[in-house]
Amino acid sequence: METRAATYRHCEIKNGKIILNGKLLFEKADVPFAKFIKSAYKHFELAYPKFHKMDRLCKLAFVTANLLLNNQLEGYASEDIGIVMSNSNSTLHTDSKHSKSIIDKDNYFPSPAVFVYTLPNILVGEISIKYKIKGESVFFVSNEFNKDMMIEYSEDMIACGDAKICMTGWVDYTEADYHSIIYLIK
């Protein structure tokens, strides 16, 4: 399965590095995530104002998806593009942010702009809006990235005609660490 996964186009971001199909595209080590992802956004001239409103998990997913896709979806109908995503910490970072806003009853300030990012499939929504993707999608949460199962699930979706191409992967963010890897299955 490792070899089969590697045959699909894939983009990975971890430890301050962005890697496309095993090739280093961008590196900015030893800076906090927020600074790193902003540098990448600028470096690749992604120019998408909505990016600045996203939470960190969505920013990570968005940059990964952008570099992975890069015109790869041309020729596919919106409803034929599927997305199968997963992570382990769901939206924990933003959950904590929302939670902090409601601890003090005398200083109670829950915000819809934060709360909306307390669902992990929002990152699927953000990618779908940018690329006009309207096909089947699902977000799984598991402690480990079950790459084989996810790739097989996506291949099945394509085999039974429910999608013609599928973005499949893992996008996880916590205060302590981050990791994304997305495959393009066709």
Partner: protein, 390 residues
């Protein structure tokens, strides 16, 4: 590829209306609602209208679980519901042929709110760790799948189960969905100004928003029909879609939901006229309900009798798709259409057929839909098979 028939062999609902599907359907047939005004500072600083399971009833019920103190409230609900459903068909939950799929939006999020008062390790807030507790309780060898996909999680979990059963990966899949009413979600929906200050009124002219609800719904899906039952319910088709429009606002056109409905009908190989009843998402927010009527217009389903169960049990988030699907399949089995609670005067722009009176009708097929944040939509079609039709 030959189509695998997928049977729903057992089901359970735990909600404020009762701890079995029958209790819930019975209360709904009598027009009772679990939505009440709660003045509880642990939920929200000011009074809110939500559908919440009584702590006393739950505490009495959990004593049938072994080591019940080791589990969080939501875990207890999952364990109870799965136990009750699997006992109906004497399912071997610890078999390698059985998979558990869990649908939840926020899982044990209440642990994040009050870590100092809780006796559970911090990692129980992770859905995968919560799922591991449920797996271990039943000694099931397969790592459960967790579907966390906003308000369509429940319907989508059925779609995932259908795919895995069609691949013959498992013989039985337990699909369970659950979420709690917590200050986390109440304050979030309040900040969106999306909450109703009375029992919600889906599709009504005076609807103002949702009531949150808590509960768990469990279905057992199988590739073999249940023994000794004349009537079987099968899943004929399911699909999901994305609006690709806005992360929190429903689509103005209903095209995304229409796409999911269209795909589900195509998978089931039936025409819109083959649907007898629609169990809709109907959250009672102005935009959602309007979006749904547009989708039904596009799908040529405006005349089909329809309802939303949100007025009875609130919006149970990750559980909604399962609890509401279970009530819908009991509708099919009982040949009974239940009124859409809270509806008085049509408040959407197309002439949908909202059920206002409990009535008997021969029912064969039901379409269930769900839509949620992130622009996601899902649809599933249930069919009643009687011995003579097989």
């Amino acid at each position: 590829m030959a189509k695998t028939t997928i049977y729903i062999t057992a089901d359970n609902i735990i909600s404020p209306l009762g701890f079995t599907s029958q209790d819930n359907v019975e209360k709904i047939s009598r027009g009772q609602t679990g939505v009440k005004c709660h003045s509880d500072k642990a939920i929200y600083p000011s009074p809110v209208w939500v559908s919440k399971i009584s702590d006393k009833l739950l505490n009495d019920a959990v004593r049938q679980l072994s080591n019940w103190r080791n589990y969080t409230k939501l875990e207890q609900l999952f364990l109870l519901s799965i136990s009750k459903a699997s006992q109906q068909v004497a399912l071997n939950v610890s078999s390698k042929d059985t998979l558990i799929i869990i649908a939840s939006t926020k899982g044990n999020i209440n642990l994040l709110e009050n870590p100092e008062t809780m006796d559970f390790p911090k990692n129980r807030v992770q859905l995968g760790t919560m799922a591991g507790q449920i797996q271990a309780y039943f000694k099931n060898p397969n790592t459960p799948l967790v579907v966390c996909n906003a308000c369509i999680s429940g319907v989508l979990a059925l779609d995932v189960a259908k795919r895995l059963l069609a691949k013959n990966k498992f013989k039985n899949i337990i699909v369970t969905g659950g979420d709690l009413v917590t200050e986390f979600t109440v304050s979030g929906f309040q900040s969106f100004k999306a909450m109703s200050d009375a029992p919600c009124k889906p599709y009504d002219k005076n609807r103002v928003g949702i009531n949150l609800g808590e509960g768990v719904g469990t279905m057992i899906l199988s590739t073999t029909p249940p023994n000794n039952k004349e009537t079987h319910i099968t899943i004929e088709g399911s699909a999901s879609s994305n609006d690709a429009n806005h992360i929190s606002g429903p689509s103005r056109t209903g095209e995304g939901l229409f796409l999911a409905i269209k795909k589900a009908l195509k998978a089931a190989k039936i025409k819109p006229s083959g649907i007898d009843y629609l169990s809709m998402h109907g959250t009672a927010t102005p935009y959602n309900d309007e979006m749904e009527c547009k989708a039904l217009g596009l799908a040529d389903l405006l005349s089909i009798p329809m309802n939303s169960f949100k007025g009875y049990i609130g919006h149970t988030l990750g559980a909604a798709g399962l609890i509401e699907s279970i009530i819908a399949i009991h509708s099919l089995k009982n040949n009974t259409l239940y009124p859409s609670f809270g509806f008085e005067e049509l408040g959407v722009t197309l002439p949908i057929n909202v059920i206002t009176k409990i009535s008997e009708k021969e029912l064969h097929r039901c379409l269930k839909t769900a839509s949620g944040f992130g622009g996601c939509n899902a649809a599933v079609i249930f069919e009643k098979q009687t011995e003579t039709s097989i």
